[in-house]
């Protein structure tokens, strides 16, 4: 009796998490494939061999910084310039793994080291949105796995046949990721001081975008938003300690 009650719980909840992950990830597949094909097509037309183009997506797997690397690519190869540019564009991921690491302490270390290789913007935002104190590994794999395979596959298709779609702005496809992130940001409105975090981030990011450009607006906005959260938490920090002592 006890065994019957305990045994099926895990697989069925795992199944639920996988379906939830696939459903949450699905809207990103289309823009993911379009930009993957675009990357493959542009890299190939720049004269890169097919294998190298696909290797870039498979090994490197970071959309925006791949385009930056492509732009800087030339002869002679500016090796360290490209490496530093990639570091600057991808620096935000350090914050992602710091935040999400707290929710994955129950995973084995090897699983975390493998899984975080696929920690892209949508994967991080969805994981933070759906995870409680613990992030379901099944959900994470369902979100990150298909996006990785689609990105590498789309790069290959674009490299072999061209992008076929041309300008992603034509059907307002370039707005899909913006709308997607808007939806996710408003999901975080229940977190402490969310309004002020979002406002500070936007207020710092906008002028930085104008005067310094990408990727510096990300660092400026993140720093401003997080600083506001820490400052505003200063007053309530003592209270939360009391709550914990009482609990």
């Amino acid at each position: 009796m006890v065994r019957r009650m305990l045994a099926p719980a895990e697989p069925s909840s795992r199944r639920t998490q996988i379906l939830l992950g696939l459903r949450d990830m699905a809207p990103v597949l289309l823009p993911n494939c379009v930009f993957g094909m675009l990357f493959g097509a542009i890299a190939t037309s720049d004269g890169m061999p097919f294998g190298r183009v696909v290797a870039m997506s498979a090994v490197f797997y970071a959309g925006a910084s791949q385009f930056v690397a492509l732009e800087l690519w030339g002869t002679p190869l500016p090796f360290w310039t490209i490496v530093l540019a990639v570091l600057a564009v991808n620096f935000r991921h350090i914050l992602y793994s710091a935040a999400l690491g707290r929710r994955t302490r129950h995973w084995p270390l090897s699983g975390r080291l493998l899984a975080f290789a696929g920690l892209t913007d949508p994967v991080f935002a969805l994981s933070e949105y759906r995870a409680g104190p613990r992030l379901s590994a099944a959900y994470y794999v369902a979100v990150s796995g298909p996006l990785y395979l689609a990105w590498v596959g789309a790069t290959g298709v674009g490299a072999a046949f061209g992008s076929g779609i041309g300008d992603p702005g034509r059907f307002s496809l370039d707005f899909v990721m913006t709308a997607y992130f808007i939806f996710l940001v408003t999901r975080f409105r229940s977190r402490p001081n969310a309004f002020w975090v979002i406002a500070a981030s936007a207020l710092a990011a906008l002028p930085t975008w104008y005067f310094a450009g990408a990727p510096w607006h990300i660092g400026a906005g993140a720093f401003a938003g997080i600083s506001v959260a820490v400052l505003l938490a200063g007053g309530t920090g003592a209270r939360s300690d009391e709550d914990e002592a009482a609990a």
Partner: protein
């Protein structure tokens, strides 16, 4: 020979740098046991603070159609599910771009 291997080395280096950023935060923080309330507050703010910056260039620095569509998307996201929000957002931008001729 070095010329032939350089692109592959560069791809590998970019992959390593990217991977380092993706595990770096966890590697650093997992060395500390219990986090202070201030660090917890900082980490809780990461998704909203960073995702907002990914929205800003398109929503606030591209054009009137994009800004209006972003506002409609925010309103839709407060009431509706993700698919409906996306349809409202992309659909309204498509119409606004046609109307405003941008």
């Amino acid at each position: 020979m070095s010329g032939e291997w350089q692109p592959l080395l560069l791809i590998l280096a970019c992959g390593l740098v990217t991977y380092a950023t993706r595990i770096g935060g966890d590697v650093i923080l997992s060395r500390f046991g219990r986090l202070s309330p201030r660090v917890e507050a900082a980490l809780d703010a990461v998704p909203a603070a960073v995702m907002t910056t990914l929205i800003v260039p398109m929503a606030l620095a591209t054009g009137a159609a994009e800004t209006l569509a972003a506002i409609l998307t925010i309103l839709a996201s407060l009431r509706f599910s993700m698919p409906v929000t996306l349809i409202v957002g992309v659909g309204s931008l498509f119409v606004l771009r046609a109307l405003l001729g941008s």
